[in-house]
Each structure stands twice: as structure tokens, then as C-alpha cells.
Amino acid sequence: MKSLERLTLAHLWVAFAAFTVACFFGVWQMWARSPLPAPFATPDHYFLSVTAHGVSMAFVLTTFFIMGFGYFTAETALERPLPGKAWAWLGFILALAGTLMATAAILSGRASVLYTFYPPLTGSPIFYLGLVLVVAGSWVWCVLMIVAMTQWKRANPGAPVPLAMYATVANAVMWLWTTAGVTAEILFIILPASMGWVDTVDVGLTRTLFSWTLHPIVYFWLFPAYIAFYTMAPQAAGGRLYSDTLGRLSFVLLLLYSLPVGMHHLFMDPEQSTGFKFVQMMLTILVSVPTLLTVFTIAASMEIAGRLRGGRGLFGWIPALPWERPMMLATGLSFVMLFFGGGGGLVNMGYGLNALIHNTSWVTAHFHLIFGGAVVIMYFAIAYEIWPRLTGREVVSTGAQRIQLWLWFVGMMVMSLPWHWLGLQGQWRRVAQFDYSNPIIAAWGPWVIVSLVGGVLLLASALLFIWNLASFRRRPFGAMAPFRFAVAVHPPTRVPAALNGFGLWNVLVLFLMVAAYGWPIAQFFVLGAPQAVVHRVDRGG
């Protein structure tokens, strides 16, 4: 089993290293935007920092964590060695090489185009090629996840695929669909512009292709958190998973409805029509359903655990839960942040309501709270949960882990709640320096500083997280018991083929994508579209 540990640890350390560096950039950014004087505060430094922070958090932390956790799950949930380990290492090297390339381009100031790239703003080709390599490495992971599950099913005909693996493969399938948009955008439009082969780009088509990726990618990030909710939290709480079937159904619904909804990022765009914006809004409402189902199923699972520990009454089971366990604590804190972040998201998707908050700090608040908060806190909890396995060391006390999790929660709330308010006041995004002499903007100053304090707490939490992981080195080696995932109240002996595979769902996804994105993309080719001139940011453009 040693080689799996090395593979997983390699991925997780890259993820957490990028994460820690990104936290420093994030705090500096908030300082630079605040009324307080900050060092190096120039626009080119600011946008370099935003690009570095965004790429690290959105592409590196996430992809490497998901890959590493996926490899771990494949071996432990399926109880057989991961197939194709050499390929897995190749995927890791590709992704790492790509990360280093993109980092070099960003730090040299030749790729300050933000993690969402804003063609016709164009940076160095090294940046885009680097990101393509990261995606290529992740595709290796996707294939290996599918192969692992397929081989297991052949060796165990008719048996239900363990939920943790079924969900992991759902994520892999979803990622393959997801990356089609941004890969096409980079390979066919941005790279040719970046290499100087063309000097105009179709901005409408580029934005539409990017939107294809932009929504499902956040569900790609979210899957590990939900996998932990369903397959680790009930175990940590000392109870049972309320319904294995609902788990499968929720992951399938996330696969189906996170893909054809990217246009809700384009509500304010003039290149798409009311009709398709409306259709994708309706589909976005549907993607909220699996989350609302999950909230109930996990609450019921926790209720089982709480009542087993003697909790009585309608809510008495809540304090009875073993909150001293990090996985339990993280789950509770995650749900609180999910409430606020999800609520904000329901405003964002509200079609006309989007005009209220588009490109304001409300959006920044939303995704920091839901991703940085609800999802990443579960990444911490998963790391704490599997680190003993990965390192072979015992956990002696979890006090420092709990402090770190609380610090993350408080920091995230203090940082992001004021941003909601500021967004409604009209505070807009991606600003290196505000003119605080303007009375409207001056009123925002105190809240910007409150937000900054939240960010500092987050940085402290991030450093404590790394310290907690590193301190496993000083622990004694422990006898390893097999890693146990949560057990359902009624563990399934058979599940319908539809909830044990993805054939049917892939067909439905294809249908949904053609319906939701077919014409919105085709229109640029059929009707022709005006081209905009490429602006090179790596040449002072």
C-alpha cells in the first residue's frame, strides 16, 4: 500500500502548497484595496496577484486535491490496488509541469489576465499551455477512476459500487464533460491569438465556451465535500448514513444539472438571447435540488448518531453529537456556510435578480463562502481524516485541528459577510485601488477593513493547517486498521443499474447540452460574429 500513500501525498502537498501561497496573495490584495497603505500596491502587482491567487485556488488546489483523494478512495473503497499507477504518476507530472509553467508566466507578469482569462486580453502562451497540461493530467485521473470502477464491477458482478467510488467516478465523468468548453476555448481561440497566428478573436464565442466550464467546475470542486458528507461524516458521528440510494441520486442529479447551466454567468451579456438565458435559469433551479436533498439526508444521518448518544427531542440530538471530532465539527461549520453561500447563489441565479449583484462584491462573497468556506473546510477535514493512513502515524490529540477549523470558519464569515453588503451598495470587482475621497466609496472603507481582518484570520488558519499536517511527523507510528467508510441504515445488496453506472446519464447529459448550448454556440458560426482585436498584456497592451 506504500505506493498509493506516496501518490496521494504528492498530490495533496502540491495542492496545499499552492493553497498556502495563494492565501498570502489574498490577504495582500485585501490590504491593497483597503484605505490602509499597503506595500507594492500598484495595478500591475495587484492584477498579477489576483491571477496568481485565482489560478492557485481554482485550478491547482482543487485539481490536485481531487486527484489525490480520488486515488485514495479508489483503493480504499474498492479494496483493491489502484490500476495503472504508472499512468497516475504520469498524470501527476504533466499537471505539475503545467502548474510550474503557468506559475512562471504569472510571476513574470506576462499573464495578468485573471483565472477567468478575458479575451481579447491575451497573455503569454506559456500560461495557457501550462493550464492545458494541468487539464491533461486530470484527464489521466478521470480515465483511471473509470477503469478502476469498471474492473471492480467485472470482478463483482451485480454488486453495488461503494458509494464513495460511485460519487468519485460521477465527478470524473462530469469533469470530462466540463473541460470540453475551456479546452476548446484555449486550443482553438486563445492559443492561436497568444502565439500571434491571428490578431482578432470572437469574444462572444470565447465567453460562451468558457461559461460551459465555469459552472460545472465549481461542482467538480464540491464533490469531495459531498463525498465526505455521505461517506465519512456519518462514520465520524458514530451513526449511519440515512439513505445510500439518495446519495447516489444526488450525485447523479449534480452530474446532470451542473453542466447545462453555465449561461447564468452570462445573464448580463449581450451576445446571448433571453430565451436561452431563461432555459438555463430553469435548469439552474434544478441543480439546487440535490443540495437541498443532501441537507436533509445528512441531517437525518446526524440525527441517528445524536440519538444513539442519548440526544432527545426535536433538536436535542444536535448538542449530543461528537463535536470534538474534526470531521464532525467541519461538517457542521460547512453546513452553516453552505446556508449563506447557497442563499447568495439563489439570488445570483435569479435571472433579473442577477442585475442587482453582477460583478459586485456580492459575487466575491458568494464564491468565497461556498467554495473557500463550505467546500475547503471539508478538504481540511478529509486531510485530517486520511492523514494517519497516509503517513502511518497515530493521531494523539485533535485540539489544534479544531482550533484551525474554527479559525477558518470565523475568518470566512468575517471576511465575506461584509462583502454582501458592499456589493449591494455597488462596490464593483477587480479594483486595485479605490478612490476613498469619493463620499460614496468612503462609506465602504470601514467594512473593507473588517473584511481584511477576516482574511488575516484565514491566513493564520491556513498556516495552522500546514503545521497540523507537518506535526504528524512527530507522532508515533500506529497500527493501521482498514479505512472505514460510513455504513447505511440498510446497506444495499443490489441497486438499479442506473444508479450503479453512467451510461444512461451520459446520454441525458448529451441531450441537455445540445438543448442548452447547441444554438448558443452554433449561432457564432452560422450568423457570423464581429471580431475584436487581440490586446497583449504580456507586451504592455
Binding site: 426535536l314 444536535i318 435578480l353
Partner: protein
Amino acid sequence: MAAPARSTDENLTETDVDTVMEQVPKGALALAGTAVLLLLIGWFFVYFVIFIPRGSVG
């Protein structure tokens, strides 16, 4: 793996779970239901108090 309280989990019997399942999911319904209700109140607050008064656009 973790804190000492783990040992009680090892002694879980089906009878324990069955007894508890007579109450579940009342508590979950209460918690999730309250959460969804608060969510709707918050959403409609933004809708009626902030969004609508800011005027029509199209």
C-alpha cells in the same frame, strides 16, 4: 484512529439503530425545514426590499 469515545460506536447493534429510527427523521425535518424556511425568508427579503424597488430594466 481518533478520540476515545469511538469504543461506543463499535458496540452499535441493530436494535440500537432500530430504536433510534423510530424518531428519525423528525429532527432532520425540523432542522432542514427551518433552514429552508429561513432561506426563503432571506431570499424574498432581498427580492421585495432591495431588488424590486430598484426599478425595471430590460
